[in-house]
Amino acid sequence: MYEKVLEMQEFISQPWPWWMGGIVIGLTLYLLFKFNKDFGLSANLRTMCAADGAGKYADFFEFDWGKQGWNLMVALGAMFGGYVAANYFGGDGLAHISDAAINTLNQMSPEPYLTADNVHIVPGKDVMHGVNLPEWWNLYSWKSLFTLRGLIIIVGGGFLIGFGARYAGGCTSGHAISGIANLQLPSLVAVIGFFVGGLIMTWLILPYILQITI
């Protein structure tokens, strides 16, 4: 019996093919709709602001946020999901990106640090699977936060995400998935915007930010 469990764990721990995205997203949408709820994780940011009393400063935050508890639970569940996946089903702990992508990433760093064996799934320290991510790429750490480069990436990225998601009225889940699934032209426009912004950042700005050494 225990062996069967281990076999199962090993099976799930393999890297998942892209089409599993359809199953995961489809299941998420189905269950949320079944309970008459919509899919949109960035709405939680507005709820958290409102719950902290932001309604005193802007009427945008004056809404019945008490009814949004369910969505905070989805976010809490996503945290647990990340914990269990990373700790018990992490597999080899690598991001299985293409050789072309590894080349591109190596052009962004002063030396070609990355190989197919050390691209940890996220640019942060791996404690579970023994992936030895080069220190230069260790962006997701408290130590990194206290460098200018890490500060820009963590605080700057967070600010833009929070500002942009509410300005656009949704994020990847609200527009790219459920908005387009509901055949909303505004969502398609927003997603094109996501890509324009993403291309500008990835091609024109990010390479310079990564070079910052202070």
Partner: protein, 137 residues
């Protein structure tokens, strides 16, 4: 206990996104360099199945648990907000390689520095709410 089911739904989503490597900054950079089909496959397969599920619920072929037909709201046609907000969001998405759902997954998986990222996102949300009336929509 009524809210417990939503933790399960979030769990499935967060677990899946981790295993699909959608939480990976490296995957996002790869996507914006068009160097793999992977991320496009995730989004497109999600959208295709999403369209089918949405239509089934919209037409009442599938009903919610209490037998009611699920209502879907149309998005308003304020084009500037989608263009400008979209570009700003996209820049943030590519800068950290993380979107607003994935930040919760990353905190949970042990990258506690993302508490600061969520704090910054709250600040960004607050800034939008504060300046909303002077922004073009």
């Amino acid at each position: 206990m009524k809210l417990f089911k939503y933790i399960i739904i979030g769990f499935l989503f967060g677990f899946g996104m981790w295993k699909l490597e959608a939480i990976s900054t490296f995957r996002i950079i790869e996507m914006f360099h068009f160097q793999s089909f992977h991320m496009y496959g995730i989004i497109m397969s999600g959208v295709v199945i999403g369209i089918i599920i949405t239509q089934l619920f919209k037409k009442g072929k599938i009903k919610a648990v209490h037998g009611e037909t699920v209502k879907f709201n149309d998005k308003s046609h304020e084009w500037w907000r989608y263009i400008l907000g979209g570009i700003i969001f996209g820049m943030g998405w590519a800068l950290t390689g993380v979107c607003s759902g994935m930040m919760f997954v990353l905190v949970g998986s042990g990258y506690t520095v993302f508490i600061v990222f969520i704090g910054a996102a709250l600040l960004g949300t607050f800034a939008y709410g504060y300046f909303r009336k002077s922004l073009p929509h």
